[in-house]
Amino acid sequence: MVKNVLEVDSIQKQYQGKNIISDLYLKCETTDIVGILGRNGSGKSTFLKILFGIVAADFKFVRIDGLSKSKTEDLLNEISYLPQDNFIPNLFSVEKAIQLSITKDKWKAFYEDEMIQMIRNKKIKHLSSGQLRYLEIKLILNKKTKFVLLDEPYNGLSPIMIEKVNTLIVENSKRRGIIITDHNYENVIKISTKLALMQEGKMHHLKDKSELVTRGYLKSGMI
């Protein structure tokens, strides 16, 4: 199996004179699921947007398999990104969204999913928030990119759907590196192979989940 490596270094972002992200370093390899936790406003989503290239940073250094990637265009075929908000155009049908997003050889397997069969003939605007989120996650995970960024994937999902999504993510991590951030810390901890905590724009790499308590993100007894 080919092992791909994504390295992000020295990311700096200021807004109105205040450091939103400073001196951030992250490494993600194929089979890694890097879980990033942090309170609201700690910079998790901004970090993912900067990494994907849709938000400009004052300074950033992204390297994939040893090659520097400075332009957004360079990253589009290497990284997929699930944003917090829904991103599939409302006027599309589910089938159209699938056919435009994934290669033909994957359609058959994609349509075999029970949930996808239920919504296959619907318009995007007629899906419930959970159905839409599940479709988006499944589309993103079926890309042929080396890395996937998931920003709050559990938003609007029922417990059973969360279990399905966790299975999809873990299965997918055998072929690529995944970076996930969500406030549903129990599920993030459960599936992650590495954990990091963002506090005031700085990233702390954790050796053990108990550090989430000592660093003040969780109260004792919450894990």
Binding site: F52, I54, T72, E73, L76, N77, S80, Y81, P83, D85, N86, F87, I88, P89, N90, L91, F92, K96, A97, Q99, L100, S101, T103, K104, D105, L139, I140, K143
Partner: protein
């Protein structure tokens, strides 16, 4: 080849999503400004007004195309060129109709 067709289909879908507004703006120009203004609107300004409306109402949708490997710049430039081609074709057809029946 699948990749090429999929990217082309993505860009065409984006172009289609701008066309209704382009046409509406151009028809308004036809009513209030005449055929010459209609032509300019259809070929150039209608498309960019439509893009401006997308910026305000559905900016997140660009992420769909980003995830399909198409940057915003590429999407806008190719869609605009598509619009020029289709608009010139529509204007040519209208000119023929006017010439024959006008």
């Amino acid at each position: 080849m699948d990749g090429f067709f999929r990217i082309s289909a993505n860009i065409f879908e984006f172009y289609k999503s701008t066309f209704l507004i382009t046409l509406s703006v151009s028809l308004l120009a036809l009513i209030f400004g005449g055929f010459e203004i209609f032509k300019i609107m259809l070929v150039v300004f209608g498309f960019w007004i439509s893009v401006l409306m997308k910026e305000v109402n559905s900016r997140k949708e660009y992420l769909f195309y980003y995830n399909n490997g198409i940057s915003k710049l590429k999407l806008l430039i190719i869609s605009f060129l598509m619009n020029v081609v289709f608009s010139v074709l529509i204007i040519w057809i209208l000119n023929q109709i006017i010439y024959l029946y006008g």
